[in-house]
Every structure is written in C-alpha cells, then in structure tokens.
Amino acid sequence: MKNRMKRIAALLLAGTMVFSMAACSSGKSGSKDNETSNPSDNTTGEATVTEAQAEPITIKIAWWGSDKRHEYTQQLLDLYTELNPNVKFEASPSGWDGYFERLSTQAASGSMPDIVQMDYLYISTYAKNNSLADMQEFVDSGVIDVSNIDENILNTGSINSKRVGIPLSTSILAVTYNPTVIEAAGAEIPSDSWTWDDYIALNTKVAQATGEPSALVSIIGPFGDTNPFSYWVRQHGGVLFNADGTGLGYEDDAITADYFQMWQDMSDANVAPDPDEQSQLAAVGKEALPIVTDKAATTVEWNNFTSVVSGVNDKLKLALMPSSSEGKGLWLKPGMFFSVSESSKVKEECAKFINWIINSEEANDIIAGERGTPVSSAVRDYMMNSGKMTEQQVEMFGYVDKAAALAGETPAPDPSGIAEVNEAFAKAGNSVLYGQATAAEAAATFREQVTEILERNNAAK
C-alpha cells in the first residue's frame, strides 16, 4: 500500500515536470530570462539592445554548407568583428544533413540561434509557427537596404505579410549543357529559342551516339523535387500551388500526365535515366554527374551549377530552359535566406549584419558568389567589374539578367508540407516509370495526395 502511494507520488512528480518542460517548448513568450543570446550579458539586461553601440553583443549564427563555405564565412564573421568590435559571434556551421533536425529541436525548446540560414523548403513552416522575426521594421528604418534587390525576389521572404527572411542570392532554372559531348555527337548547341521538342531531339541524338542517358535533371531526377515541374506548370498557364497553400493551383491533370509521359518516353528510349540509374546518380555528388564526366549532354539545374562544378569541369555552358519564351515559366528563386529568430534579443544587430552581407563590397569579395548570385544588382555590377570572377561566374551572373527578362511573377513560397508533397510527387512519377501506373492515373493520385497533405498542414485550425 505504502509502496503504491510512493509510486503514484513519483508519477505525479514526473507528470508535473513533463508538463512544465513541454510548456517551455513554445518559446514564443519572449520573456525567458534564462535564454539570453549573450551568456555574458547578465549585466546588460534587455533595454540596452537598441542603443548598443558600445555594449558587447554576441550573435549566434547557424548555417549549412561544405567546408569551403565554413571557412570563408568564419572569415566574414572575423572581419565584421574587426569593423564592429562590440559584436562577437558564436558560429554553428553544419553540413546539409541534420541542419534542420537540429534547428527544429532548438526551436522546440525556444533556443534557436539569432541568425539562421533558411531554405525555401522550410521557411513557410517556420514562419507559420511564428519562429521567425518580422524584419519589416528594419527594412522600413533603412537598417537593411533593399533598394538594389528585385521586388519579386525580395518578396519571397515575405510570408503572411511578415518579412521573415532576407534572400541572399537568386537562382533561376537553366539547362547546363556540355558542348564537347554535343559536338562529338554531331548535334547542335542549344539556342535561346529552343523548345522542349528541340531538347528531346538533342538528347536523343546524343544518347544514340553515346549509348548512355543524356537528359539529366540534377542528381535527383525530374521527380526529385517539384521545381522543374513547377516550371512546366507555369508554362502551361497554371501555378503549382494555390495562393493559400491548401492544394494544387491548376485544374487540368493532363498537365501532370504530360510531364510524366514525357519523361517516361525519354526514359524508355534510354534518353533519360531510368529510376534505377537515377538512384545510382543520387548516391554520389554533383561532381560525378555524367554531364560533368563528359558522358551526357544536358542537365536541368539552377544557374549556379557550372560554377559549382568548375573545379572538375570548366567547359560547361548555360542555356535557357526549353520553351522559355512560352508562358512565363521562369521565376527568380531565392537561393537561401538569412532569417532572424523570434526569440532573438539582438534583432537590430542581426539586421545590421545581414545588411552588410547583402550590400557591402568587402563582404562579397570574400563570399565570391559561393552562396549563389548575389541579390543586390549593385553588388553584381561591382563583382562583374572587379575582374576577380571566373568565366563560369560571369556567365552565372549574366544568366540572371537574361532570364529575369523572361521570368514571370515569383510564386508564393512553397507551402508547409512541401517535403511531404515532394515525396508524393517522386512516388507518383516513379510509379509511371516502373509501369505500375499510367501517367493519367499517377497524375490523379498525385492530386489526391497533395490535397490531403496540404489540407492537413495548412487548413485553418
């Protein structure tokens, strides 16, 4: 009896602990005194932040990347500290794997870093749950100068009329081609006015000459994510998702079916990789793509691809996406954002730093376009004229201007639930290639699943 009482008491105790812990997972009250961003500022308190010129400030900053990015970003932080001796950084570099797992766990306990590198894939989810600060006041007050940033691209960081992310770079879909392979097969170099038919014809010719698939879509394939498909939908007069993110933004399933069918035909003719070959490509990095190793003619990629792989192959060139002039398929996509967490106590200092990153010449000298084409047109001009850029970077920058002229309105950021939508899309597409469903059936399944996923994620609760 006594024992049972003890056990119940222990359970109750555990229960209260659990709930007090679970309660802290919101992290949005903003009044948590144990979570200052600066472990050493016990004396500074909270009110000092705005007039903090001389006050020591610590900014926690997290990003993902490869070792090269870690190295120069640390240089950036050091330089900034040199220029602003009161600002110190606590840096959390990370690979891509696990970056968002850690970030969401930190968010769950109200301890996100002050500045986080944010991806288009997840920004809506974080914004919807109020984890990211609204930076509009700093844009309004001029702390962050956005005058040289294209309106379209800037607004991709605006969700539910809150400015939750400042884009660092722009990317646009492009076809990267390998002139060596194309010439060897006796085919014609793509022109800016080429169509999907020309695209298929070129790759068919090359594939017949080499005996290997030639029409690649990055390492993930045409169904790896929804970006190339989004281009396809926009070209056919629709948008991929509706405005409130609760379902598909186009009515006609034939659009989906045609896309699936096109890739199935190419895959069957060994012009594009079959899913088997595709997973082989996905197992190794972009450096190993057949287009880089002179075995394939084209790949659909973002416009920074030639620059990314220039260390391995510096002969690759960019062409516009097929049928770019039809419809307004292209759009300026934000490469990545810097966002400030809602729980940060040093938002204005973060804003100043972000402003420095996107607008200053000295910062961009160090970044050297590694995070993608800079958003600021002034910085782009400066870099173009600096003479320090590689041939690939010049082409990458130039492509943005060329493609922007043809681009349509940038779509609303991917709705929350996009990772699950991508998975459903991949499964639908691959089921066609595996012959388990016809293109029309798969298109219908895709719509059904997307509707379920997006309603679950975004329906007003």
Binding site: S104, A108, N129, P275, D276, S279, A283, S416
Partner: protein, 306 residues
C-alpha cells in the same frame, strides 16, 4: 508467473532490497533522466498536434486513429519491417554462430580474421558503404555484369527492382554480423573446456558434442542475440536510409525511417511519437512471448532467475 511472484514476495530480505537498489541506483538515476522522463514526454506528444515549432495542443487519440485508418504508408513500412526482421534475424544469427564456431578453433591468424569480420560493423552506414553496395548491386554493378554474362538481362538491377531491393538491404544487415559473432565468441570462450574433455573421453562424436554441450551452453547467448536482433530488426533505420532512402517506390521504407521523416522532414512530431509507441508495443509483444518460452529451451547454469 503471478503465483511465483507472490510466493517470492515473502522471501525478500530487507538487506537484499537495500543491496539491490544500491547496486541499481546509478543506472536508475540515468534511466529516470535520460529515458523515463523523455518517454513520458513523448507519450504526451503522441496525444498532441506537436510539430516541433508550435505550442503542442492535445488532440486526444487522433494520431493513433490516423495511423490505423488512413495511413497507407504506415502499412507499407510495417510490412517492409516485418519482412526485414523475419529474414534478417535467423540469417544473421546462423551466420554469426557459424563464423564464431569457425574462429573458435585453433588456427593461425585468427586475430586477423576476427578483425576483418568485424570491420563491416565498424564502418557502419557511411557513404563509402552506400557507394560500394551500389557498386555491387547497382545497375552497373558486379551482379548485373555477372547476370548478363550468363545471358540474363534484367531491366532493373537488384537494388532498383521493387521486388528485390529489400533482399539487398537484408543482405547488408546479415553482412554486419560482427557484433553477434563477437558475442557468440565470448560465450564460446566461457564454456568450460572440462565439459568437452569429459565428452571426448566418453568417445562422443563432434556433432554430438555440438548439440549436447555447445548449443545448450550457448542458449542464454542465443536467447540474448535473438531478442537483440528482433529489437534491432524492427528498429532498422541506417541500412534503408543510407543505401536506398526507402526507395524504389517505398519498397525498402522501414518503419523507423518513416517515423523519422514524419518527425523531422514533415514536421509531424506528435504523430511520429504515436508511431514510435505503436512500434514499442509490437516489439514488446514479441519480446514477452520469447521471454515466456525461455524456460522451455534456455539453459542457465545459475539455475534460472528465481
């Protein structure tokens, strides 16, 4: 079971109770901190709409209802995991025991072989492994070349075929038999040599020695390995994450890979916790059944646990 317990109750000595809890206390402390509290929290999450970023709201049994009514992927993942466990457990155990017996002999270079056989377990789930396995079983791999050399042309490689991909994943699980092997080896070392000697003096044949001495003396370890492999089999994650990422068409999507995606990629932590506890119940059922049977076949020199 119950009768035994109530009978035993009167036999507990105060001194033993104290000694038991003193010896157990370090573990108990860690258990409460790192396991018990987190478990309670995760059970709580499983009844909420927690997505990692929001303030969790209790939604009753909705997550559990969703698992059993609308979630097709859950059923697929469960099926994959069952098939994996059913094949992996006996294959890995048999292989591990076989190699352990082989290495328990007196040959030269045993240390080297032991090391080599343990390497797959050390190297674990790195990219190197994923690339090498593709190299063997992928579409330009060794197996495909062999098949086509024999005139068997397949549209898909073993890894790319929805019917055979899981077999490759199981094979990889068997390949990492090093841990089980070491445990068997340790147990074989613990069998008193005198038992073998007296058997040999009696003129027993080696197969008889194996079944009359080795196997019975090994049963506690076999039991341990069996439970362990069943638990690990149901919790398989790394193999399908690293080699196939669940593909093609979810044919290698393991249960834990699915709940991992739910938790961290789909921001569905509440649901993921519910999935986890459903899995715990499934594993527990198997474990309890096995524990119940152990009196029939497991031989303890110490005379069992009562």
């Amino acid at each position: 079971m119950k009768g035994k317990q109530s009978l035993a109750k009167s036999e507990y000595k105060r001194k033993d109770n104290i000694a038991g809890y003193v010896m157990l206390s370090p573990w108990l402390f860690g258990f409460v901190l790192m396991w018990f509290l987190p478990m309670v929290i995760s059970i709580y999450y499983s009844f909420t709409d927690f997505n990692l970023l929001n303030e969790a709201k209790i939604i009753g049994f909705k997550n559990y209802i969703r698992i059993f009514t609308v979630d097709d992927t859950f059923r697929q993942a469960l099926k994959v995991t069952f098939v994996y466990a059913i094949f992996l457990v006996p294959l890995r155990l048999a292989f591990a025991l076989f190699v352990a017996m082989l290495l328990n002999t007196k040959h030269k270079g045993l240390g080297l072989y032991r090391t080599i056989y343990y390497i797959p377990s050390i190297i674990g789930g790195s990219i190197a492994v994923s690339i090498v396995w593709r190299q063997i079983f992928g579409n330009q791999g060794v197996i495909m070349s062999l098949l086509s050399a024999f005139g068997i042309v397949q549209k898909h490689s073993l890894l790319g075929n929805t019917k055979t991909a899981l077999a490759v994943i199981i094979l990889m699980g068997v390949w990492q038999f090093g841990s089980s092997m070491l445990i068997f080896l340790a147990a074989l070392k613990q069998i008193p040599g005198s038992l073998y000697e007296s058997a040999r003096v009696d003129g027993a044949k080696s197969w008889r020695i194996f079944f009359k001495i080795t196997i019975p003396m090994l049963t506690p370890t076999i039991f341990f390995n069996l439970i362990l492999q069943i638990v690990n089999g149901f919790r398989v994650f790394t193999e399908s994450y690293v080699i196939t990422d669940g593909g093609p068409l979810d044919s290698t999507l393991s249960y834990v890979l699915y709940l991992y995606r739910r938790a961290f990629n789909y921001f569905d932590m509440g649901y993921s916790c519910a999935l986890a506890w459903v899995l715990v119940v499934i594993i527990a059922v198997f474990t309890i059944v096995l524990f119940r049977t152990q009196n029939n076949w497991v031989h303890y020199e110490s005379g069992g646990d009562d």
